[in-house]
């Protein structure tokens, strides 16, 4: 098994862990962790699948992943702020037992 395949495999495992976490955990913090793990799996994959150009690594995926990390950080910060606000308003940091979409006014 060469290096690229190893990275792709690692990315696939991480992505699976992320999807699992997103589905089974109720707490929003854990869901955010899960989404970040999925994101990192994709970043690993993007760097791994782009082949080298003339023996040197292709700079484009590195630049894309860097931008992706910046976006992931800001989205996570925003989600955390929203979660804290939700906790302050409702006393819970889960979405679990609300009374269905739109039924609370």
């Amino acid at each position: 098994m060469d290096n690229a395949a190893l990275y792709v495999l690692a990315a696939a495992v991480l992505f699976g862990v992320g999807v699992y976490g997103l589905i089974v955990s109720a707490h929003l913090m854990r869901k955010l962790f899960a989404i970040n793990i999925m994101g990192n799996a994709i970043f690993i994959l993007m760097v791994a699948v782009a082949g080298p150009i003339d023996g040197a690594p292709d700079p484009v995926p590195q630049a894309l992943v860097l931008t992706g990390i910046v976006i992931a950080v800001s989205a996570t910060a925003f989600a955390l702020a929203l979660m804290v606000r939700l906790y302050q308003e409702t006393g819970r940091a889960t979405l679990a037992d609300d009374n269905g979409p739109g039924n609370d006014d």
């Binding site: 989404i35 925003f78 308003e89 739109g102």
Partner: protein, 482 residues
Amino acid sequence: MTTEALALIVFVPLLVAAGMVVLPRSWLGLLIRIGLLPLPFLLLIPTMEVVDNGAYRVVLAGHDSPLGIVWLLDPLSLLMLWLNVGITLLVSLHASFSFPPSDQPARRFWPLWLILFASMNALVLSADLFNIYVTLELVTLAAIGLIAVEGKPAALRAAMRYLLLALMASLLYLLGVGLIYGQTGVLDLYLIAEHLEPAWLTITALALMIVGLLIKSAIFPLHAWLPAAHGNAPGPVSAILSAMVVKVSVYIIWRLWFWTAGDWDLDSAATLMGILGGLAIVYGSVAALVQQRLKMIIAYSTVAQLGYLMLLFPLASTLAFQAASYHLVSHGMAKAAMFLAAANILRSVGSDRLSRLAGIDQRLPLDVFALALAGVSIMGLPPSGGFLAKWLFLEAAREQEAWGWLVLVAASGLLAAAYLFRVLAVMCLHPRRRLRSDRRRRAPNLASVAAILLAVGAIVAGFASAPVLDLVAAGLPPGLAP
């Protein structure tokens, strides 16, 4: 000249939004005007460019793709720009009433509003897959911030659920982008087609991207987040979410489908997309029929109306393209009008439960009128933009002898009529109506005027269709051009 104009269309609202955060509060009213009012005039320059030359490619700051930012202005992106500018300006008229610059929430609302506006302009212009990802994230985060801007628990929960799904959708899209770059080494939306072969890996990549975009556009069965988010957001926000935000991701699916995979044999996948659209129409309409709150009815109506945009995939002809684009325009105006009217009713009555709305037509005649007028277009009654779009869909289906789609489009108008007449009957014909006849009429204000203008726009679209239809016909994807 065109390059500068396009750059200003994106960067003026963006810079003004930044200015709102740092400059003193007394400047807010002025800044709102600076950020919005010049846009229609700026847009005239790209319009001239498209009329003269058809399409225009912008390489921002001289950095070409894959590392720079490349935009493509063509007839379809021009149509989306005009739609976004027009609807945002009219809804802003309402927002200047519901979020007046002197109030505290205005400082949270207006910067996000302008960021959302600017990022949708950038999204429809983007010509490479990664830029689309970045602008999609901007659109989503700004939209979710706007849903939560009033801080009500129901809206916060809806925003959180939307955010989790939208982040997952973005990741699916990004995964597809990564796989395609790994295959081709190209990110340009309009150059990938030459490098892509319909092999398993590329099909998987495109499928991942499209599923991600379907979640963001709330196409059945991935619509679950939409009704709560659109139904609990503040009025102007619901309007722009239903009129524009879900549509721009459908627009990106069109771009991927017809521009990058235009010459592939996608018949069965196209039928699947059409079936999803059909299910969306039926499910959304039936769900709208059983809702108890006006804004939820309108939100489920959006789920249904988005289904029409999916019929473009199986029909795939010049007529179908015109029909779907025209539906985008007329539904955008009609749905924005409905949400604004509903917001005025909610503000005035204190609730939007149908049981509380009996006889409301005497107190709020203008808003009920706007609601009914927009309803005419949503039901597809002549003469309205909605009628014309449905008529074009029927023509497109007849032209290809696709009788199943023809029956679906013809029958779906009845479903829309059912849920809208249920609302209008309660408002105008309820037996309890007479008991309330002594209520004072509320003076019409700017908020009602905005709703009326949009509703009238949706009706007028039934008469003044030629420029839009010609524009769409000039901007067909390479595979469909006659």
